[in-house]
């Protein structure tokens, strides 16, 4: 296997939440590295800190201590707005409950990251291409309420890849779908990894999903127990 660079590298990440007077250690020194193009799943029981880790890896949150390099950049001490730019350029999100703008068409939803990136030229074309790549070329002007759950998740996936991100973070991507649509979504996700070499990180409870990934990171009580 050729040596690939680490797209994600964390060392000794800690996260402390303050709930009133009590301090909760959600992560107690997590060090993981994920190589470019890898497909990794993060597993663990609830309360194990996997959502916290996902938020930090996805640059939605900052660690309390430790260092995190994403695609070679140290992001653990960036400001809110700098993180927003990183999320825009390097991370694509797929959520369990889709999180689409219900008032806007599929096209506008997919265009959203491009808008915040300040792209004006060819924005529409790129969004349509992304929708076609998930098989929704004929649903461009439909609103999320007019689409099935599987279709909505596919719009979300088009939105996640439209900016050519370095990593895709999928948080229980099939959790709200029936097994058939869930299977389609999994296929699409894995396909994107194969076609574009995008690093894919899936947070899941489901053993069947984690079986299909190359590597499983297991968390327990804020610590990595296997990777």
């Amino acid at each position: 296997m050729t040596k690939k660079k680490d797209v994600i590298l964390t060392s000794g990440i800690e996260k402390v939440y303050r709930l009133g007077e009590v301090e909760v250690n959600a992560l107690c020194g997590v060090s993981v590295n994920i190589k470019q193009g890898e497909v990794v799943s993060i597993m663990g029981p609830s309360g194990s800190g996997k959502s916290t880790l996902m938020n930090i890896i996805g640059c939605l949150d900052r660690p309390s201590a430790g260092e995190y390099f994403l695609d070679g950049e140290m992001v653990s001490n960036m400001s809110d707005d700098q993180l927003a730019v990183i999320r825009n350029k390097k991370v694509g999100f797929v959520f369990q409950n889709f999180n689409l703008l219900s008032r806007s068409s599929a096209l506008l939803n997919v265009e959203l990251p491009l808008r915040y990136a300040g792209v004006t030229e060819g924005r529409r074309e790129r969004a349509i291409k992304a929708l076609e790549s998930v098989g929704l070329g004929d649903r461009v002007n439909h609103k999320p309420t007019e689409l099935s759950g599987g279709q909505q998740q596919r719009v979300a996936m088009a939105r996640a890849v439209v900016n050519n991100p370095a990593i895709i973070m999928a948080d229980e991507p099939t959790g709200n779908l029936d097994s058939k649509s869930g299977e389609e979504i999994m296929k699409l996700l894995l396909n994107m990894n194969k076609e574009y070499g995008t690093t894919l990180i899936i947070v899941t409870h489901d053993q069947k999903i984690s079986d299909r990934t190359q590597r499983v990171i297991r968390l327990y009580d804020g610590l990595v127990v296997a990777q």
Partner: protein, 408 residues
């Protein structure tokens, strides 16, 4: 994200909640309409008042006893001798005419009808100075003045009240304070003035008024109406009168015991009063605009809470604080701008209606919707939207993406 897109998104989200947007806008509509209407009414009142003051004549000055600015000891009254001095061509070359007057209110009656108009004791110059014309009869003469004649000229309103007509009255005898006066003429109406009616008057000879009706000391004059030869010489005439009276009253420098009032003084006082009125009305109306602004803030706060998850998603895909701030500020300014535009139309309609009602009730009065007021209302209402949008928008912008996404 550019502004055009921001406006389109704001329009989308405003139209997603039409009733709520309409009610929010209504608050601004009422505020702006009130401001526009009040400013228009104020400006209209100012025009009307200043117009009717100018109508009295711009080359007229009023001289009376006393100093309004400071207390002066040993005030001397204006006398007939002062009046004669002002009439002197050599001392006061720019004075056209001087009309000495005593004035007061007295009861007048005729065969059971009675009224209490203003009584002016005048000399023949008064006709010229006030530019009176007569419906019938003739003006008071020097003979009338010298002979303390019991004759009277009636203003048209007085004639209406006592006789129910304005013609064929000359020769009748009315009673003023119980004493008989022969009517020698009827004045042409001068129209509504803003200082009470100029038509509800009775003119009698100066001497007769002083002795029989108003009980003034010999030779004293309440007011002298001075007419300058033209409007430009009014300041010179003011100086001439002051010189004459200072010499005659032997008043110390800077302690004039008389006041010379020009049309311009009255105009500026009236202008000040109507300005205060306009500001006052506009201020009250502005309060309702403020209330409308608070309505916007309220609704924007609700909207931010409702859309917490949407804000989280936008941040997750790369919206910066500024992007979110602009989004919500655009929305609140858009609401208030729409309200402002509708409000301007409503305000214009209201002031138009006020004008119609005023002229229907006999007071010719045109509310004046000025371009300034329209610009002011537009800018002010948008500013209100911006200002009251800042707090909700910054709350939205400062949401943490993780918490916003988790919000249910």
């Amino acid at each position: 994200m550019n502004l055009g897109l921001a406006i389109r998104e704001a329009l989308e989200s405003v139209s997603a909640n039409k009733l709520r947007a309409a009610l929010t806008i209504l608050g601004i509509v009422i505020g702006v309409a009130a401001v526009i209407a009040m400013l228009a009414v104020g400006a209209g009142a100012q025009d009307t008042i200043l117009g009717s003051i100018s109508g009295i004549g711009t080359n007229l000055l009023f001289v009376f006893q006393g100093n309004l600015q400071q207390d002066v000891r040993n005030e001397q009254p204006i006398t007939m001798a002062d009046v004669s001095a002002m009439r002197d061509e050599f001392q006061a070359p720019h004075i056209q005419a001087v009309a000495p007057i005593v004035r007061g209110v007295a009861n007048a009656s005729f065969s059971g009808e009675s009224t209490s108009p203003e009584i002016f004791g005048v000399t023949p110059e008064f006709e010229l100075v006030r530019n009176y014309t007569l419906i019938e009869g003739s003006f008071i003469t020097d003979d009338n003045v010298n002979g303390l004649a019991s004759v009277a000229l009636l203003g048209p309103e007085v004639a209406d009240k006592l006789f129910g007509r304005r013609e064929l009255i000359t020769g009748e005898t009315i009673r003023i304070e119980g004493q008989p006066f022969r009517v020698i003429g009827i004045l042409e109406p001068k129209g509504g003035g803003s200082f009470g009616s100029q038509d509800n008057v009775i003119l009698v000879p100066l001497t007769t008024a002083r002795v029989r009706l108003l009980d003034r000391e010999r030779d004293h004059v309440d007011v002298a109406y001075v007419q300058a030869i033209n409007a430009e010489s009014v300041p010179i005439v003011t100086e001439e009168i002051s010189q004459i009276l200072r010499t005659r009253h032997r008043s110390k420098l800077g302690e004039d015991d008389f006041t010379v009032y020009t049309q311009e003084d009255i105009l500026s006082v009236a202008g000040t009063i109507t300005n205060v009125l306009t500001v006052f009305l506009g201020g009250i109306a502005a309060i309702s605009l403020l209330v409308g602004g608070i309505g916007i803030m309220n609704i924007m706060l609700v909207s931010v809470t409702e859309r917490t998850k949407e804000i989280g998603l936008r941040k997750a895909v790369g919206a910066t604080k500024k992007d979110i701030l602009i989004q919500f500020l655009t929305e609140s300014s858009l609401l208030s701008l729409i309200g402002g535009i509708i409000g301007i139309i409503f305000g214009w309609l209201i002031s138009f209606a006020v004008g119609r009602i005023a002229s229907a009730s006999g007071t010719p009065f045109t509310p004046n919707v000025s371009l300034n007021a329209v610009l002011l209302a537009t800018i002010f209402s948008t500013a209100v939207g911006l200002f009251f949008g800042i707090y909700p928008a910054s709350r939205a912008a400062n949401l943490q993406p993780v918490e916003a996404l988790r919000y249910e």
